[in-house]
Amino acid sequence: MIEITGLTKRFGAKTAVDDLTFSVEPGRVTGFLGPNGAGKSTTMRMILGLDRPDAGTVTVNGHDYVGLARPMHEVGALLDARAVHKSRTARDHLLCLAQTNAIPARRVDEVLELVGLASVARKRAGSFSLGMGQRLGIAVALLGDPKVLLFDEPVNGLDPEGIKWIRELMRGLAAENRTVLVSSHLMSEVAQTADHLVVIGKGRLIADIGIGEFVRQGSNVLVRADDAERLVPRLVEAGGTVQSGTDGSFIVTGLEARRIGEEALAAGVVLTELTPQRSLEQAYMDLTRDSVEFQASVA
């Protein structure tokens, strides 16, 4: 469990994190979303005591991170997978980190096996591909078998197989009742993994919401049907909000396209059009539009 209260960080005149309050619960994957420059990494760095907050507090399982004598047993973090001395071997990299927390060398080999790097354990980290480097960073996070895990943009540079692997890993960790916080600037990356979303923009909290609710709020579907009078009540009953459009079409909010199709089938109504108008990505972009730091102008 991570508890963040009133967290604020300024770099000169710029406020990177602005009075942020949320908590990350165990037993689920929490997606930490926001456009580039929203303050995600700064927040994670403050959780780990790398940056000092100007105001507010962060605790991990009730403790101040900086006060932990052997933090790897409590919290594992992947912040920047390239933050590795390139001429050190993967195994030595893990070993020197493990030794600081009295983690035995046996665990280093175990973790190398777990992330699929056992065969390159004695290769220099500088020779690793982006994906292998990412796996090495994840190995660091797992070394102390911690209850809380932070992953900053973990799928960057991973191939589809690697992405699938890390998603399953995060789901598995949450299923073991661990606290998992994973940041991303892309909705699509966390949509399939996260149970809960914390969305920030310009350092401020925009949404702290379950993924189901986000999906419901986020989807508008344009529907045309031969017998709308019979379909609409069913959709309302299923939890949707229906607005009549022009020319006989109507917009359904709060139900996925598939669910609408199922209702139409059950009612025996022929659908002539079923068009999702906002993807999850679109909903996320709408949510964060006002807080994007760097935006291309439309010429």
Binding site: L50, D51, L68, S87, R88, L95, A102
Partner: protein, 256 residues
């Protein structure tokens, strides 16, 4: 003990960078080799120097001038390589108590330089005395007055030079900048500087500049115009301690 665990980690960090151990061994070899050459050269003029001829000092000093550059450089790199690669953030994530991390670095690198510095000091002293003796000049032995102190003291100078590198590395974080400053502080200002400075300033540097003061521990011939051996070493050690205190203060307060 968490402090010992962190020191063990720092030793793993040091030995697992492939260039570190060879550079360290090469430095010892250069000190002994160059020490032999200067001892050989100087002992041919021993007669002219008379009572001022310092057989212990001359067998170590020539080699040390070369060796100290890489000892200081290794100290710098022990810190700046972590900043250059971003490793420092990983290191501070696993050891969030910053004082403990830096203390482990200082102790580990201090012990490494102590061991290797003593090897280099005794090696160059013993080989140097052979050269001096072979040239018919008065060689000394470790049993002679002040000689053991001078040779052992040379190893301590290695430690201080290495720790000055660590301290400046922490303050500047950048390898090039820190190395340049270390070379300026330990070589250019004290060794070349006095020849370019006004007389009074040059004399002051020669007596009181930390490394010049410290190196008095390696001499066996008293010089009334300069500091006594332990006074000089004490001055250098005090300056190094102040530098390290500044490094700790900055390291603690700075965002990583």
């Amino acid at each position: 003990m968490a402090a010992v665990e962190t020191m063990r980690s720092e030793w793993t960090k040091f030995r697992s960078i492939p260039s570190n151990v060879p550079v360290l061994l090469a430095t010892v070899a250069v000190m002994i080799g160059a020490g032999f050459l200067t001892a050989n050269g100087a002992s041919k003029n021993a007669q002219a120097a008379g009572a001022m001829f310092d057989a212990a000092y001359i067998s170590m000093y020539g080699g040390f001038l070369f060796a100290q550059i890489s000892v200081g450089g290794l100290g710098v790199l022990a810190v700046t390589s972590e900043y250059a690669t971003g490793m420092i953030r990983t290191s501070l994530t696993v050891v969030p108590r910053r004082g403990r991390l830096l203390a482990a670095k200082v102790w580990t690198f201090g012990l490494i330089t102590l061991v290797m510095g003593e090897v280099a000091a005794f090696g160059s002293f013993l080989l140097g005395q052979i050269a001096i003796g072979a040239n018919g000049a008065p060689a000394v032995s470790l049993a002679d007055p002040g000689v053991l102190r001078a040779v052992f003291g040379m190893g301590l100078i290695w430690v201080l030079v290495g720790l000055i590198g660590v301290g400046i590395g922490v303050l500047l974080r950048d390898t090039m900048a820190a190395t340049t400053v270390v070379v300026a502080v330990n070589f250019i200002i004290p060794i070349i500087g006095p020849r370019l400075m006004p007389q009074a300033m040059g004399d002051w540097v020669t007596v009181y500049w930390p490394i010049q003061a410290g190196l008095r521990i390696t001499s066996t011939v008293p010089d009334p115009e300069r500091l006594a051996p332990w006074t000089g070493l004490g001055l250098m050690a005090a300056c190094t301690a102040v530098l390290l205190l500044a490094a700790f203060a900055v390291f603690r307060s700075r965002d990583a």
